[in-house]
Amino acid sequence: MVVRIRLARFGKRHRPFYNIVVAHARTARNSKPLEVLGTYDPLPKKAAAAAGGTADGGGEAGAEGQLRPYKDVRLDGARARYWLGVGAQPSEPAWRILSMAGLLEPRYRVAKVQKMEKAARQKAADSSSATGAS
């Protein structure tokens, strides 16, 4: 049976919370998995501004000077790498999370976002070098 890395929905009504789990593909979503690799909280948290830098897990100031909201992910990177190494197949949302953690090639939306980011950075660098030269 195929071993998959996937999300198991816990939490409450309107308050989803996911365990990132390694489980056999045909078992029920919330059944006991082979291993829990981490958690994913899909509700964005407000970034709290603190006097001395960012607060506990608070977001960083973006380009606009605003604090960006953030989502919490906890992951055991070593165990995730092991399971990928022995052929566990991530589901699409799990792939998104693992690729952001740098364990997989970005696919789906992550790749698109990273491409856009890179282009924006390139553009900014070009414009700054142009102004510096002139």
Binding site: F10, K32, L37, G38, A48, G57, R74, L75, R79, A101
Partner: protein
């Protein structure tokens, strides 16, 4: 059987006063006007009326600014006059025992509204450190922090147009002893501010063999109890006051004492700042931020093996299996430990 008419009043001379002499006794009783049976005036009941019309008269209408406890006295609260003591007028200035026979029940003073406003003003408007305000107002460090936070919440609510329960607060405060606000000339002590908190690790009895030839200091004692336990000198809330007293006892001038105090305070502040910075850095080192479109993703490294064993360890990763939620269970403390 001999007739028993009119025996009660005669048996207790001076005790059960007649209705004409005692206007406070309940009126009415018209139905009993023709009754020829004796009044049921026990000794205790008559003593009660005697007290109500005599010594207890002063409690009927409490004067403003008094707690109206049975001992009398004003609602001024403070450490040095916390004990009962009669002044020239024969009234106690501050009585902390609302029930005179129960000496274990003490009504300790609370911070007055003016004092809380003063503390908030010092912390927020004048930018004094919490430790400094605590030392000056003689209020505990934690209490100063709590007052500053609560006042902020109060101001926010006022801005949002929420109604505050002022009548309730006033009614409660009028019945309790309070520590008044004295901005100049030394504050009224509210509580001991430099008490050493008893660390849980020091609660156990410990037999620790040491060599007589080597010094065994308080730092060593702390280490013997727990490896991470700091010595008492570093755990007290106000190390700067100790430094000041040391200089004063050694015969230093007031200026030298103040300089030592400021130096110790800045050192303590620096230590606290460094600790906080270190904690922040470790937190940031464990966290990796990946930028997304609308929000960031914060990855924190965890150890999946912590769930090992019976898989019910509270340190385990994620939502646990076969373990019911306890958030609706009785006795779960849900008080927020931080404000965002």
């Amino acid at each position: 059987m001999p007739p028993r008419i009119g025996t009660a009043a005669a048996a207790l001379p001076g005790a059960a006063p007649s209705r004409a002499a005692n206007p406070s006794m309940p009126k009415g009783g018209g139905a009993r006007a023709f009754s020829r049976s004796a009044r049921l005036a026990t000794r205790q009941r008559s003593a009660m009326w005697a007290w109500i019309n005599g010594a207890g008269r002063q409690f009927r209408r409490p004067a403003a600014g008094t707690t109206n406890y049975l001992g009398g006295g004003s609602n001024w609260g403070g450490q040095e006059e916390g004990e009962e003591g009669a002044d020239a007028g024969g009234r106690q200035r501050y009585n902390k025992f609302p029930f005179p026979r129960n000496r274990h029940f003490q009504s300790l003073p609370v911070l007055s509204e003016e004092l809380r406003d003063g503390i908030w003003d010092m912390v927020v408007n004048r930018g004094m450190s919490v430790r400094e305000v605590s030392a000056r107002m003689l209020v505990g460090v934690e209490r100063v922090g709590a007052v500053a936070r609560m006042k902020e919440v109060e101001r926010r609510w006022e801005k949002e147009g929420k109604r505050l329960a002022h009548p309730y607060a006033n009614a409660i405060l009028s019945m309790l002893p309070q520590t008044p606000y004295k901005p100049v000339g030394g504050a009224h002590p509210h509580e001991p501010i430099n008490d050493l908190p008893v660390h849980q690790a020091t609660g156990t009895q410990l037999f620790h063999p040491t060599s007589e030839s080597r010094p065994f200091t308080r730092a060593d004692a702390g280490r013997a109890f727990a490896p991470s336990l700091l010595p008492a000198d570093q755990r007290i809330p106000h190390p700067e006051l100790i430094a000041r007293e040391r200089v004063r006892l050694a015969g230093g001038s007031a200026r030298e004492a103040r300089a030592a105090e400021q130096e110790a305070a800045s050192e303590a502040d620096k230590l606290a700042e460094e600790k906080e910075k270190k904690e922040r850095e470790t937190r940031e080192a464990q966290t990796r931020t990946v930028r997304g479109r609308r929000w960031d993703f914060k990855f924190r490294e965890v150890n999946a093996d912590e769930v090992a064993g019976n898989e019910r360890s509270p340190k385990g990763v994620g939502w646990r299996y076969g373990f019911p939620h306890e958030d609706r269970k009785k006795g779960q403390v849900k008080i927020a430990t931080k404000v965002e």
